[in-house]
Amino acid sequence: MFAGFSDRTWLWAAAGFYLAGLLLGTFSLLRGGKPSGAVMYAVVVAAYLLQLIGLGVRGRAVGGCPLGNNLEIYQFVAWSAITLYLVIGVTFRTSLLGYFTSCLAAALTLVSLAIPSWDPALRQHIFGGNPWIELHAALAVFSYGVFGLLALTSIMFLARNHSLKSKNLVGWVSFLPSIIDLDHIGVRLLGMGVTILATSLAVASSIWLRDTASANLFKITCTVAVWAAYASTFGLRLSGRLLARRFAWTCLVLFPVALLSLEVVNATRQPATPPSAINSPAKP
């Protein structure tokens, strides 16, 4: 609890603000205008802070990084994407990215809160008190947030590319950043995501090498496969063999695949956890 409200209440409030950003942006675009960057930024910052409080309360309740179930993972992915947007939005002044990020965050947070089975009352301690495993998990999920933002910039690139090719430049597409800017941001995000996930894997491998019995081969395979897919995409892009539209499509398709792998990994993990190590998070 914080200020008398449970973690889920804070998270719902955050989701409400993300939804407000989505509706505000959609309304502006439907009226033929561009969503105000400052207003969008303010709404996203408010949502981000509320989500930070919600995740903080949950983290305190579970005694670690809140990554123990689907709700927490999806919330963390959304939070990671927003963290990056708050940096990129200021640095690159990327028009409409705030709106798109709000859409992604609203979808992830609302869906994760709306499915009760994603946040069971009884949950397991997944890190076993090992901060390195916690770091590995946090970095891995953060990289998924980066890939989420990459998927958004890919959608923006494809929309911009399509509008230029089809010579239909009116409407909301006219507010999108340039092709080159979107491509540059995409490459940087991909590089960042690959590096963060590689770091996460490196941290995990140091643990697995010392304690092979704790290694979940299926989970390792899934995570390494996701990393390899993104790393290959990065390599192909840098070598000039996967460019423009095909590069954007690849980044876009990889994200739901990566999210699906998270789901699979999460599902396989639960039965292996000792039932004794359970904790009950605060619920409204």
Binding site: R160, L164, L169, P177, S178, I179, I180, D181
Partner: protein
């Protein structure tokens, strides 16, 4: 309230055709001489003269209704233009209507190319010249200064200046949607005719620096390159060096395509990361339409550019009603502020020049 005291007379593209405007156009020397002459018009307390390729207008404050006729007479005599013909297309407004006209002119609402912004600078220059000649006083100073603020308000609170309406500027906007900035892009101009030159100048005016001109007549390419501060290359090298450029503006009179799909594809193999933008302004077309099927390559021809310009023009026309309403509101408020001043200044009736007009004419700085 003497609303006739402040007036504007003149002629513009609305009623005077091009061949007439050519005859009315003032050379800098003629404009200077006319200013000196107008300073001697009885009862003309303040005046400013706006002379552009599309309009000649005189804004003034007077206590003599005949002052306007005297200005017309002096102008027609200097231009050796028939007075009766001038009267047939002469614009003549006074009071609040004249103020609204000033705001509409400065905000581009009265321009031939609706919403263009160059006129704002031209009105400012006209006012600066009048100030320099000390032919403005309290009324015109206030009207012009507040008029500029009103014009800015109209432009920022409507979409009247949004979207380019000339083919050359549409091409530049498209390049910006691809590259974001023009500072680093390299432009190849194939063909050294007038259309290509206009497009190159539009790119330069928006920050493009690296322009290369290629023409079948190399001496013509050199000539244009020198005029533009660009470089020239032989036309025969176009295919081989295509990969060096980001934007290719084609405007030749060649009977068939000068850029083939194979040449564009070969260029893209050499520079796969950066997009390539072809602007085909030629008829018959200079760029094979199949070039547009290549990934990361964008091709726009004259029809495409014209269609976008027309859409932007239509969008501006939609904004015109809103912009005029704002201009009218601002003009009404402004006229309320100055009308008493105008009345006070012109109530003397027979008074001749205002003291500031009695100063000796300053020699031109240029």
């Amino acid at each position: 309230m003497n609303s006739e005291g402040f007036f504007v007379i003149g002629a513009s593209h609305h009623r005077a055709p091009l061949e007439v405007r050519e005859k009315l156009s003032l050379t800098p020397d003629a404009a200077e001489a006319l200013r000196t002459e107008l300073a001697g018009v009885a009862g003309l307390h303040e005046f400013a003269m706006l002379s552009t390729c599309n309009r000649i207008e005189f804004y003034g404050v007077t206590s003599h209704p005949e002052a306007r006729e005297r200005i017309s007479a002096a102008f027609c005599a200097r231009q050796n233009f028939d007075r009766g013909a001038f009267e047939s297309f002469r614009l003549s407004l006074h009071g609040r209507d004249a103020v609204q006209h000033l705001v509409e002119v400065a905000s581009g609402l009265d321009s031939q190319m609706l919403g263009e912004t160059e006129i704002f600078g031209q009105v400012k220059e006209a006012y600066a010249k009048a100030q320099e000649r000390r032919s403005t006083g309290p009324v015109l100073n206030r009207l012009f200064q507040k008029g500029f603020q009103a014009a800015k308000h109209v432009r920022t609170h409507t979409a009247i200046t949004e979207g380019q309406v000339s083919v050359a500027n549409v091409a530049v906007d498209l390049a910006l949607t691809i590259y974001g900035s023009l500072a680093e892009i390299r432009i190849l101009l194939v063909g050294a005719g007038e259309i290509g030159e206009k497009t190159a100048k539009a790119f330069q005016s928006r920050g493009a620096a690296a322009i290369t001109v290629a023409s079948r007549r190399f001496e013509r390419a050199m000539e244009l390159a020198t005029a533009l501060g660009a470089s020239a290359m032989p036309f025969e090298q176009t295919d081989a060096r295509l990969a060096e450029f980001d934007v290719v503006v084609c405007a030749t009179s060649a009977p068939s395509a000068v850029i083939s799909q194979a040449a564009a594809a070969a260029a893209m193999r050499k520079r796969p990361v950066r997009p390539l933008f072809f602007i085909d302004q030629a008829l018959p077309r200079d760029v094979d339409p199949l070039v547009a099927t290549l990934d990361n390559v964008f091709l726009y021809n004259l029809d495409d550019l014209g269609k976008i310009a027309e859409e932007n023009r239509a969008a501006r026309v939609v904004e015109l009603v809103k912009a005029r309403a704002i201009a009218a509101e601002k003009a009404g408020a402004l006229w309320q502020q100055v009308s008493a001043q105008v009345a006070a200044l012109t109530s003397g009736g027979s008074a001749d020049f205002a003291p500031h007009l009695a100063q000796p004419v300053q020699p031109r700085a240029d």
